[in-house]
Protein backbone atom coordinates (compact mmCIF):
# COMPACT_ATOMS: atom_id res chain seq x y z
CA UNK A 1 0.00 0.00 0.00
CA UNK A 2 1.11 3.59 -0.70
CA UNK A 3 4.18 2.43 -2.68
CA UNK A 4 3.38 4.82 -5.52
CA UNK A 5 2.79 7.67 -3.11
CA UNK A 6 6.19 7.07 -1.48
CA UNK A 7 7.99 7.67 -4.77
CA UNK A 8 6.03 10.82 -5.52
CA UNK A 9 7.02 14.27 -4.21
CA UNK A 10 4.73 15.56 -1.48
CA UNK A 11 2.40 18.01 -3.19
CA UNK A 12 2.03 20.41 -0.29
CA UNK A 13 5.74 20.93 0.08
CA UNK A 14 6.79 21.67 -3.49
CA UNK A 15 8.30 25.02 -2.49
CA UNK A 16 5.83 27.02 -4.59
CA UNK A 17 3.16 29.53 -3.66
CA UNK A 18 3.37 32.88 -1.89
CA UNK A 19 6.20 33.33 0.63
CA UNK A 20 7.35 29.77 0.05
CA UNK A 21 10.93 30.64 1.00
CA UNK A 22 9.76 30.91 4.59
CA UNK A 23 6.31 29.33 4.76
CA UNK A 24 6.41 25.67 3.77
CA UNK A 25 2.71 24.96 3.85
CA UNK A 26 -0.74 26.14 4.92
CA UNK A 27 -3.45 23.97 6.32
CA UNK A 28 -7.14 24.22 7.18
CA UNK A 29 -8.86 21.65 9.34
CA UNK A 30 -12.55 21.33 10.21
CA UNK A 31 -13.93 19.22 13.05
CA UNK A 32 -17.48 18.03 12.37
CA UNK A 33 -19.86 15.58 14.01
CA UNK A 34 -23.09 13.92 13.01
CA UNK A 35 -26.12 14.86 15.10
CA UNK A 36 -27.43 11.42 15.94
CA UNK A 37 -24.32 9.49 16.86
CA UNK A 38 -22.22 9.52 20.01
CA UNK A 39 -18.81 11.14 19.56
CA UNK A 40 -16.16 8.58 18.52
CA UNK A 41 -14.36 8.29 21.89
CA UNK A 42 -17.60 7.11 23.54
CA UNK A 43 -19.06 5.21 20.59
CA UNK A 44 -18.84 1.38 20.56
CA UNK A 45 -17.43 -0.59 17.65
CA UNK A 46 -20.82 -1.15 16.01
CA UNK A 47 -21.63 2.53 16.11
CA UNK A 48 -18.23 3.46 14.74
CA UNK A 49 -18.72 1.06 11.83
CA UNK A 50 -22.15 2.57 11.16
CA UNK A 51 -20.63 6.06 11.18
CA UNK A 52 -18.02 5.02 8.63
CA UNK A 53 -20.70 3.51 6.38
CA UNK A 54 -22.87 6.60 6.75
CA UNK A 55 -20.11 9.08 5.97
CA UNK A 56 -18.85 7.00 3.05
CA UNK A 57 -22.37 6.87 1.60
CA UNK A 58 -22.58 10.65 1.95
CA UNK A 59 -19.27 11.00 0.12
CA UNK A 60 -20.54 8.83 -2.71
CA UNK A 61 -23.88 10.60 -3.12
CA UNK A 62 -22.31 14.04 -2.98
CA UNK A 63 -19.87 13.15 -5.75
CA UNK A 64 -17.01 14.38 -3.60
CA UNK A 65 -14.87 11.34 -3.79
CA UNK A 66 -14.27 10.64 -7.43
CA UNK A 67 -10.60 11.27 -7.31
CA UNK A 68 -9.06 9.43 -4.41
CA UNK A 69 -9.14 6.41 -2.15
CA UNK A 70 -10.71 5.40 1.08
CA UNK A 71 -8.81 3.25 3.59
CA UNK A 72 -10.02 1.54 6.73
CA UNK A 73 -7.55 2.00 9.56
CA UNK A 74 -7.39 -1.78 10.02
CA UNK A 75 -6.10 -2.08 6.44
CA UNK A 76 -3.17 0.24 7.14
CA UNK A 77 -0.18 -1.37 8.86
CA UNK A 78 1.83 0.51 11.51
CA UNK A 79 4.62 1.50 9.12
CA UNK A 80 2.12 2.89 6.61
CA UNK A 81 0.41 4.81 9.38
CA UNK A 82 3.68 6.48 10.38
CA UNK A 83 4.25 7.19 6.72
CA UNK A 84 0.88 8.97 6.45
CA UNK A 85 1.59 10.93 9.64
CA UNK A 86 4.94 12.10 8.26
CA UNK A 87 3.09 13.15 5.13
CA UNK A 88 0.56 15.04 7.26
CA UNK A 89 -2.36 13.09 5.84
CA UNK A 90 -3.46 11.59 9.15
CA UNK A 91 -2.90 12.75 12.72
CA UNK A 92 -0.72 10.98 15.30
CA UNK A 93 -3.97 10.50 17.25
CA UNK A 94 -5.56 8.63 14.33
CA UNK A 95 -2.53 6.39 14.15
CA UNK A 96 -2.76 5.21 17.76
CA UNK A 97 -6.02 3.30 17.69
CA UNK A 98 -6.31 0.84 14.86
CA UNK A 99 -10.02 0.03 14.90
CA UNK A 100 -13.21 1.69 13.70
CA UNK A 101 -11.53 4.46 11.81
CA UNK A 102 -11.09 5.36 8.17
CA UNK A 103 -9.49 7.98 6.01
CA UNK A 104 -10.14 9.32 2.55
CA UNK A 105 -7.14 10.75 0.72
CA UNK A 106 -7.49 12.43 -2.64
CA UNK A 107 -4.99 11.77 -5.41
CA UNK A 108 -3.40 15.20 -5.20
CA UNK A 109 -2.87 14.67 -1.44
CA UNK A 110 -4.26 18.12 -0.78
CA UNK A 111 -7.42 16.77 0.82
CA UNK A 112 -7.81 14.17 3.52
CA UNK A 113 -10.87 13.31 5.55
CA UNK A 114 -10.46 11.26 8.71
CA UNK A 115 -13.49 9.45 10.06
CA UNK A 116 -13.80 8.65 13.76
CA UNK A 117 -10.68 10.33 14.97
CA UNK A 118 -11.62 12.49 17.96
CA UNK A 119 -14.59 13.76 15.97
CA UNK A 120 -16.72 11.91 13.40
CA UNK A 121 -15.24 13.95 10.58
CA UNK A 122 -11.92 15.74 10.40
CA UNK A 123 -11.56 17.41 7.05
CA UNK A 124 -8.18 18.79 6.07
CA UNK A 125 -6.95 20.81 3.11
CA UNK A 126 -3.25 21.48 2.83
CA UNK A 127 -1.21 23.32 0.24
CA UNK A 128 2.23 24.74 -0.41
CA UNK A 129 3.30 28.25 0.67
CA UNK A 130 1.17 30.86 2.41
CA UNK A 131 -2.11 29.91 0.77
CA UNK A 132 -4.61 30.02 3.60
CA UNK A 133 -7.46 31.54 1.58
CA UNK A 134 -7.13 28.93 -1.14
CA UNK A 135 -7.24 26.14 1.47
CA UNK A 136 -10.20 27.72 3.21
CA UNK A 137 -12.22 28.07 0.01
CA UNK A 138 -11.66 24.47 -0.92
CA UNK A 139 -12.42 23.16 2.58
CA UNK A 140 -15.53 25.33 2.85
CA UNK A 141 -16.85 24.08 -0.46
CA UNK A 142 -16.47 20.44 0.55
CA UNK A 143 -17.89 21.14 4.00
CA UNK A 144 -20.96 22.81 2.46
CA UNK A 145 -21.54 19.86 0.15
CA UNK A 146 -21.21 17.39 3.01
CA UNK A 147 -23.58 19.41 5.19
CA UNK A 148 -26.31 18.97 2.60
CA UNK A 149 -26.04 15.22 3.08
CA UNK A 150 -25.20 15.02 6.75
CA UNK A 151 -27.10 16.61 9.61
CA UNK A 152 -24.21 18.09 11.56
CA UNK A 153 -24.21 18.31 15.34
CA UNK A 154 -24.79 22.04 15.51
CA UNK A 155 -26.13 24.36 18.17
CA UNK A 156 -27.56 27.79 17.41
CA UNK A 157 -25.54 29.37 20.18
CA UNK A 158 -22.37 27.27 20.28
CA UNK A 159 -22.05 26.46 16.58
CA UNK A 160 -20.46 23.15 15.61
CA UNK A 161 -20.35 20.74 18.52
CA UNK A 162 -17.17 18.77 19.01
CA UNK A 163 -15.86 16.07 21.28
CA UNK A 164 -13.39 18.48 22.90
CA UNK A 165 -14.72 21.91 23.91
CA UNK A 166 -11.58 23.56 22.53
CA UNK A 167 -12.83 22.96 18.98
CA UNK A 168 -16.43 24.15 19.40
CA UNK A 169 -17.88 26.86 17.16
CA UNK A 170 -16.20 27.01 13.81
CA UNK A 171 -14.36 23.71 14.42
CA UNK A 172 -11.62 25.41 12.46
CA UNK A 173 -7.91 25.04 12.98
CA UNK A 174 -5.83 27.05 10.52
CA UNK A 175 -2.11 26.48 10.65
CA UNK A 176 1.10 27.20 8.84
CA UNK A 177 4.43 25.39 8.84
CA UNK A 178 7.15 28.01 8.90
CA UNK A 179 10.95 27.97 8.75
CA UNK A 180 12.58 30.55 11.03
CA UNK A 181 16.36 30.02 11.10
CA UNK A 182 17.15 33.74 11.33
CA UNK A 183 15.01 34.25 14.42
CA UNK A 184 16.52 31.19 16.09
CA UNK A 185 20.12 32.18 15.30
CA UNK A 186 19.60 35.76 16.54
CA UNK A 187 17.80 34.35 19.62
CA UNK A 188 14.79 36.53 18.88
CA UNK A 189 12.51 33.52 18.61
CA UNK A 190 11.34 33.53 22.22
CA UNK A 191 10.26 37.15 21.99
CA UNK A 192 8.36 36.38 18.84
CA UNK A 193 6.69 33.32 20.37
CA UNK A 194 5.50 35.24 23.40
CA UNK A 195 4.16 38.01 21.17
CA UNK A 196 2.31 35.45 19.05
CA UNK A 197 0.74 33.96 22.18
CA UNK A 198 -0.70 37.33 23.11
CA UNK A 199 -2.78 37.50 19.95
CA UNK A 200 -4.53 34.17 20.49
CA UNK A 201 -2.27 32.03 18.35
CA UNK A 202 -0.28 29.03 19.46
CA UNK A 203 3.18 27.91 18.41
CA UNK A 204 4.08 24.27 18.23
CA UNK A 205 7.15 22.49 17.05
CA UNK A 206 10.52 22.03 18.66
CA UNK A 207 14.02 23.28 18.40
CA UNK A 208 17.29 22.70 20.19
CA UNK A 209 19.31 25.18 22.18
CA UNK A 210 21.88 27.39 20.48
CA UNK A 211 23.51 25.68 17.55
CA UNK A 212 21.82 22.42 18.37
CA UNK A 213 18.83 23.40 16.29
CA UNK A 214 16.35 20.87 14.97
CA UNK A 215 15.09 22.09 11.66
CA UNK A 216 13.92 25.53 12.86
CA UNK A 217 10.46 24.50 11.82
CA UNK A 218 7.43 25.81 13.68
CA UNK A 219 3.72 25.34 13.39
CA UNK A 220 1.56 28.34 14.15
CA UNK A 221 -2.19 27.98 14.51
CA UNK A 222 -5.25 29.63 16.04
CA UNK A 223 -5.91 28.69 19.63
CA UNK A 224 -9.60 29.51 19.84
CA UNK A 225 -12.39 28.45 17.51
CA UNK A 226 -15.41 30.22 18.99
CA UNK A 227 -16.49 33.87 18.97
CA UNK A 228 -14.84 34.83 15.70
CA UNK A 229 -15.83 34.04 12.14
CA UNK A 230 -13.74 31.69 10.00
CA UNK A 231 -12.62 34.62 7.89
CA UNK A 232 -11.49 36.56 10.95
CA UNK A 233 -9.51 33.59 12.29
CA UNK A 234 -7.78 33.02 8.95
CA UNK A 235 -7.20 36.70 8.39
CA UNK A 236 -5.58 37.15 11.79
CA UNK A 237 -3.27 34.14 11.24
CA UNK A 238 -2.31 35.41 7.77
CA UNK A 239 -1.56 38.88 9.12
CA UNK A 240 0.56 37.61 11.99
CA UNK A 241 2.37 35.31 9.56
CA UNK A 242 3.23 38.28 7.35
CA UNK A 243 4.59 40.01 10.42
CA UNK A 244 6.70 36.99 11.41
CA UNK A 245 8.05 36.76 7.85
CA UNK A 246 9.13 40.37 8.18
CA UNK A 247 10.85 39.66 11.52
CA UNK A 248 12.56 36.64 10.00
CA UNK A 249 13.82 38.64 7.02
CA UNK A 250 15.08 41.37 9.34
CA UNK A 251 16.93 38.75 11.40
CA UNK A 252 18.47 37.29 8.26
CA UNK A 253 19.59 40.76 7.24
CA UNK A 254 21.12 41.37 10.68
CA UNK A 255 22.97 38.07 10.46
CA UNK A 256 24.40 38.97 7.08
CA UNK A 257 25.48 42.38 8.37
CA UNK A 258 27.09 41.12 11.56
CA UNK A 259 28.27 37.63 10.71
CA UNK A 260 28.26 37.09 6.97
CA UNK A 261 31.38 34.90 6.98
CA UNK A 262 30.05 32.65 9.72
CA UNK A 263 26.67 32.26 8.02
CA UNK A 264 28.23 31.54 4.67
CA UNK A 265 30.52 29.02 6.31
CA UNK A 266 27.58 27.37 8.08
CA UNK A 267 25.65 27.03 4.83
CA UNK A 268 28.52 25.59 2.80
CA UNK A 269 29.71 23.39 5.64
CA UNK A 270 26.19 21.92 5.89
CA UNK A 271 26.15 21.37 2.15
CA UNK A 272 29.49 19.60 2.37
CA UNK A 273 28.35 17.29 5.14
CA UNK A 274 25.06 16.46 3.43
CA UNK A 275 26.87 15.73 0.18
CA UNK A 276 29.47 13.44 1.69
CA UNK A 277 28.34 12.03 5.04
CA UNK A 278 27.96 8.26 5.39
CA UNK A 279 25.78 8.24 8.53
CA UNK A 280 23.08 10.82 9.27
CA UNK A 281 20.45 10.69 11.99
CA UNK A 282 17.12 12.41 11.40
CA UNK A 283 17.83 15.30 13.78
CA UNK A 284 21.15 16.09 12.16
CA UNK A 285 19.62 15.99 8.71
CA UNK A 286 16.94 18.45 9.77
CA UNK A 287 19.54 20.91 11.08
CA UNK A 288 21.76 20.67 8.03
CA UNK A 289 18.83 21.00 5.63
CA UNK A 290 17.64 24.01 7.60
CA UNK A 291 21.03 25.70 7.19
CA UNK A 292 20.99 24.87 3.49
CA UNK A 293 17.49 26.28 3.21
CA UNK A 294 18.70 29.50 4.83
CA UNK A 295 21.53 29.61 2.30
CA UNK A 296 19.03 29.33 -0.57
CA UNK A 297 16.86 32.10 0.93
CA UNK A 298 19.92 34.34 1.27
CA UNK A 299 21.05 33.41 -2.25
CA UNK A 300 24.38 32.21 -0.90
CA UNK A 301 24.05 28.91 -2.70
CA UNK A 302 22.31 27.97 -5.92
CA UNK A 303 23.22 24.32 -6.15
CA UNK A 304 19.93 23.11 -4.69
CA UNK A 305 16.32 24.26 -4.97
CA UNK A 306 13.84 24.85 -2.18
CA UNK A 307 11.76 22.03 -3.56
CA UNK A 308 14.68 19.60 -3.32
CA UNK A 309 15.32 20.61 0.28
CA UNK A 310 11.66 20.45 1.28
CA UNK A 311 11.37 17.05 -0.27
CA UNK A 312 14.46 15.81 1.58
CA UNK A 313 12.92 17.04 4.84
CA UNK A 314 10.08 14.60 4.26
CA UNK A 315 11.69 11.62 2.58
CA UNK A 316 14.46 11.35 5.16
CA UNK A 317 11.85 10.72 7.88
CA UNK A 318 11.99 7.18 9.30
CA UNK A 319 8.82 5.74 7.74
CA UNK A 320 9.45 7.43 4.39
CA UNK A 321 12.90 5.90 4.17
CA UNK A 322 11.49 2.46 4.79
CA UNK A 323 8.71 2.92 2.26
CA UNK A 324 11.13 4.32 -0.28
CA UNK A 325 13.46 1.35 -0.01
CA UNK A 326 10.55 -1.04 0.52
CA UNK A 327 11.94 -2.71 3.61
CA UNK A 328 11.89 -2.35 7.36
CA UNK A 329 15.07 -0.97 8.91
CA UNK A 330 16.34 -0.32 12.42
CA UNK A 331 17.74 3.01 13.60
CA UNK A 332 21.35 2.33 12.63
CA UNK A 333 20.53 1.05 9.18
CA UNK A 334 18.23 4.00 8.58
CA UNK A 335 21.01 6.46 9.43
CA UNK A 336 23.25 4.88 6.78
CA UNK A 337 20.52 4.64 4.15
CA UNK A 338 19.44 8.20 4.93
CA UNK A 339 22.95 9.51 4.25
CA UNK A 340 23.01 7.56 1.00
CA UNK A 341 19.70 8.96 -0.18
CA UNK A 342 20.74 12.54 0.64
CA UNK A 343 24.03 12.06 -1.26
CA UNK A 344 22.16 10.62 -4.23
CA UNK A 345 19.72 13.54 -4.35
CA UNK A 346 22.34 16.26 -3.90
CA UNK A 347 24.68 14.81 -6.48
CA UNK A 348 21.98 14.90 -9.14
CA UNK A 349 22.90 18.45 -10.10
Amino acid sequence: MFEQMAKKPVAWIIGKGPESEIVLSSRIRFARNIADFKFPPSADTDTRDKIIEFVKASFDSSGLIDDGNFYLSTEINPLDRSFLVERHLISPEFMKDGTGRGVFIDNSESLSIMINEEDHIRLQVISSGLSMTECWEKAHEIDSKLSQKINYAYDDKFGHLTSCPTNVGTGLRASILIHLPGLVLTREIENVISRIAKVGLIVRGFYGEGTDVLGNLFQISNQTTLGRSEEEIIDSLAKVTQQIIEYELNSQETLMQDAADEIEDKVWRSYGILKHARVLNSGEVMNLLSALRLGVSLKLIDKVSLQQINELLIITQPAHLQKYYEREMDNNERDIVRAGLVRERLNQE
Partner: protein
Protein backbone atom coordinates in the same frame (compact mmCIF):
# COMPACT_ATOMS: atom_id res chain seq x y z
CA UNK B 1 24.52 15.04 31.50
CA UNK B 2 22.27 12.03 31.95
CA UNK B 3 18.97 11.56 30.18
CA UNK B 4 16.17 12.92 32.35
CA UNK B 5 13.82 10.07 31.46
CA UNK B 6 15.94 6.95 31.99
CA UNK B 7 18.71 8.49 34.14
CA UNK B 8 20.97 5.93 32.57
CA UNK B 9 22.24 6.89 29.14
CA UNK B 10 24.00 10.13 28.19
CA UNK B 11 21.58 12.88 27.14
CA UNK B 12 22.67 13.87 23.67
CA UNK B 13 19.42 15.43 22.52
CA UNK B 14 18.52 18.77 23.99
CA UNK B 15 15.11 19.85 22.99
CA UNK B 16 13.18 22.94 23.67
CA UNK B 17 9.56 22.08 23.46
CA UNK B 18 6.76 24.57 23.45
CA UNK B 19 3.71 23.53 25.40
CA UNK B 20 0.93 26.11 25.67
CA UNK B 21 3.42 28.76 24.62
CA UNK B 22 5.68 27.90 27.55
CA UNK B 23 9.23 26.81 26.94
CA UNK B 24 10.19 23.44 28.39
CA UNK B 25 13.76 22.18 28.06
CA UNK B 26 14.27 18.44 27.75
CA UNK B 27 17.56 16.59 27.97
CA UNK B 28 17.12 13.12 26.57
CA UNK B 29 19.01 10.20 25.10
CA UNK B 30 18.12 9.12 21.59
CA UNK B 31 16.01 6.16 22.72
CA UNK B 32 13.92 8.15 25.18
CA UNK B 33 13.51 11.02 22.71
CA UNK B 34 12.06 8.59 20.20
CA UNK B 35 9.78 7.15 22.88
CA UNK B 36 8.44 10.65 23.35
CA UNK B 37 7.79 10.82 19.64
CA UNK B 38 10.54 13.24 18.66
CA UNK B 39 11.59 11.33 15.57
CA UNK B 40 9.24 13.26 13.35
CA UNK B 41 9.31 17.05 13.38
CA UNK B 42 5.97 17.16 11.63
CA UNK B 43 4.20 15.35 14.37
CA UNK B 44 2.12 17.66 16.43
CA UNK B 45 3.29 18.19 19.95
CA UNK B 46 1.13 16.59 22.59
CA UNK B 47 -1.19 19.34 23.74
CA UNK B 48 -2.66 18.51 27.14
CA UNK B 49 -6.17 19.76 26.43
CA UNK B 50 -7.81 17.35 28.80
CA UNK B 51 -5.64 18.66 31.63
CA UNK B 52 -6.50 22.24 30.78
CA UNK B 53 -10.19 21.50 30.60
CA UNK B 54 -10.09 19.56 33.87
CA UNK B 55 -8.15 22.40 35.41
CA UNK B 56 -10.72 24.89 34.23
CA UNK B 57 -13.69 22.92 35.44
CA UNK B 58 -11.91 23.10 38.78
CA UNK B 59 -11.85 20.77 41.75
CA UNK B 60 -14.70 22.64 43.41
CA UNK B 61 -17.03 21.38 40.74
CA UNK B 62 -15.69 17.86 40.59
CA UNK B 63 -16.91 15.78 43.45
CA UNK B 64 -14.75 13.09 44.86
CA UNK B 65 -16.50 9.75 45.05
CA UNK B 66 -17.98 8.96 48.41
CA UNK B 67 -17.41 12.41 49.84
CA UNK B 68 -20.41 14.56 50.43
CA UNK B 69 -20.66 18.05 51.73
CA UNK B 70 -23.73 20.13 52.49
CA UNK B 71 -23.67 22.22 49.33
CA UNK B 72 -23.17 19.26 47.01
CA UNK B 73 -25.60 19.22 44.15
CA UNK B 74 -26.32 15.93 42.39
CA UNK B 75 -23.87 15.28 39.55
CA UNK B 76 -25.60 16.02 36.23
CA UNK B 77 -25.73 13.13 33.79
CA UNK B 78 -26.38 13.13 30.04
CA UNK B 79 -29.44 10.97 29.36
CA UNK B 80 -28.19 10.06 25.89
CA UNK B 81 -24.63 8.88 26.51
CA UNK B 82 -24.51 8.60 30.31
CA UNK B 83 -21.55 10.95 30.82
CA UNK B 84 -21.61 12.81 34.12
CA UNK B 85 -20.17 16.27 34.53
CA UNK B 86 -17.51 15.10 36.95
CA UNK B 87 -16.45 12.42 34.45
CA UNK B 88 -16.16 15.11 31.82
CA UNK B 89 -13.91 17.03 34.20
CA UNK B 90 -11.56 14.04 34.23
CA UNK B 91 -11.48 13.14 30.54
CA UNK B 92 -11.99 16.58 29.01
CA UNK B 93 -14.10 15.11 26.22
CA UNK B 94 -17.87 15.19 25.84
CA UNK B 95 -19.78 12.05 24.90
CA UNK B 96 -22.33 13.30 22.42
CA UNK B 97 -24.05 16.39 21.01
CA UNK B 98 -26.72 16.19 23.70
CA UNK B 99 -24.10 16.74 26.42
CA UNK B 100 -24.01 20.35 25.26
CA UNK B 101 -27.69 20.70 26.20
CA UNK B 102 -27.38 18.74 29.43
CA UNK B 103 -24.42 20.78 30.71
CA UNK B 104 -25.37 24.03 28.97
CA UNK B 105 -24.80 26.48 31.87
CA UNK B 106 -21.50 24.84 32.90
CA UNK B 107 -20.26 24.63 29.32
CA UNK B 108 -21.26 28.21 28.56
CA UNK B 109 -18.99 29.25 31.40
CA UNK B 110 -16.22 26.89 30.32
CA UNK B 111 -16.35 27.92 26.65
CA UNK B 112 -16.13 31.55 27.69
CA UNK B 113 -12.99 30.76 29.65
CA UNK B 114 -11.40 28.81 26.81
CA UNK B 115 -12.41 30.99 23.87
CA UNK B 116 -13.29 34.32 25.46
CA UNK B 117 -16.79 33.88 24.08
CA UNK B 118 -19.59 31.33 24.07
CA UNK B 119 -21.28 32.59 20.92
CA UNK B 120 -20.63 31.20 17.48
CA UNK B 121 -19.99 34.02 15.00
CA UNK B 122 -18.92 31.90 12.06
CA UNK B 123 -20.82 30.43 9.15
CA UNK B 124 -24.16 28.88 9.97
CA UNK B 125 -24.12 25.18 9.25
CA UNK B 126 -26.12 24.28 6.23
CA UNK B 127 -28.42 21.44 6.87
CA UNK B 128 -30.16 18.85 4.75
CA UNK B 129 -33.41 20.80 5.21
CA UNK B 130 -33.39 24.37 3.90
CA UNK B 131 -36.06 25.51 6.40
CA UNK B 132 -33.81 24.69 9.31
CA UNK B 133 -30.94 26.59 7.78
CA UNK B 134 -33.06 29.70 7.32
CA UNK B 135 -34.42 29.39 10.82
CA UNK B 136 -30.88 29.19 12.16
CA UNK B 137 -29.69 32.12 10.08
CA UNK B 138 -32.68 34.21 11.22
CA UNK B 139 -32.03 33.38 14.85
CA UNK B 140 -28.36 34.25 14.53
CA UNK B 141 -29.15 37.59 12.88
CA UNK B 142 -31.70 38.45 15.57
CA UNK B 143 -29.13 37.66 18.27
CA UNK B 144 -26.61 39.89 16.55
CA UNK B 145 -29.17 42.66 16.21
CA UNK B 146 -29.86 42.48 19.94
CA UNK B 147 -26.15 42.74 20.66
CA UNK B 148 -25.68 45.64 18.22
CA UNK B 149 -28.48 47.55 19.94
CA UNK B 150 -26.96 46.83 23.34
CA UNK B 151 -23.59 48.07 22.06
CA UNK B 152 -25.33 51.10 20.51
CA UNK B 153 -23.83 50.18 17.14
CA UNK B 154 -26.78 51.52 15.18
CA UNK B 155 -25.15 51.33 11.78
CA UNK B 156 -24.66 47.58 12.27
CA UNK B 157 -28.17 47.28 13.71
CA UNK B 158 -29.70 48.88 10.61
CA UNK B 159 -27.78 46.52 8.36
CA UNK B 160 -28.86 43.49 10.39
CA UNK B 161 -32.48 44.64 10.39
CA UNK B 162 -32.39 44.83 6.59
CA UNK B 163 -30.95 41.34 6.35
CA UNK B 164 -33.63 39.95 8.68
CA UNK B 165 -36.28 41.62 6.54
CA UNK B 166 -34.82 40.14 3.36
CA UNK B 167 -34.82 36.72 4.94
CA UNK B 168 -38.45 36.90 6.05
CA UNK B 169 -39.55 38.17 2.62
CA UNK B 170 -37.76 35.20 1.10
CA UNK B 171 -39.49 32.84 3.53
CA UNK B 172 -42.91 34.25 2.65
CA UNK B 173 -42.25 34.02 -1.06
CA UNK B 174 -41.24 30.41 -0.71
CA UNK B 175 -44.34 29.57 1.31
CA UNK B 176 -46.68 31.20 -1.21
Amino acid sequence: MLCQDCNNREANIHLTQIINNEKVVLNLCKECAEKRGFHSPFEQMPFPLAEIVSGMVGPSKIKKKGKKSKDDKPDKKCSNCGLTFSEFGHVGRLGCAQCYSTFRPELTDLLRRIHGSADHRGHVAESPTEDLKEFREGKRLRDELKKAIEDEDFEMAAELRDRIRELSVKEKEEKS
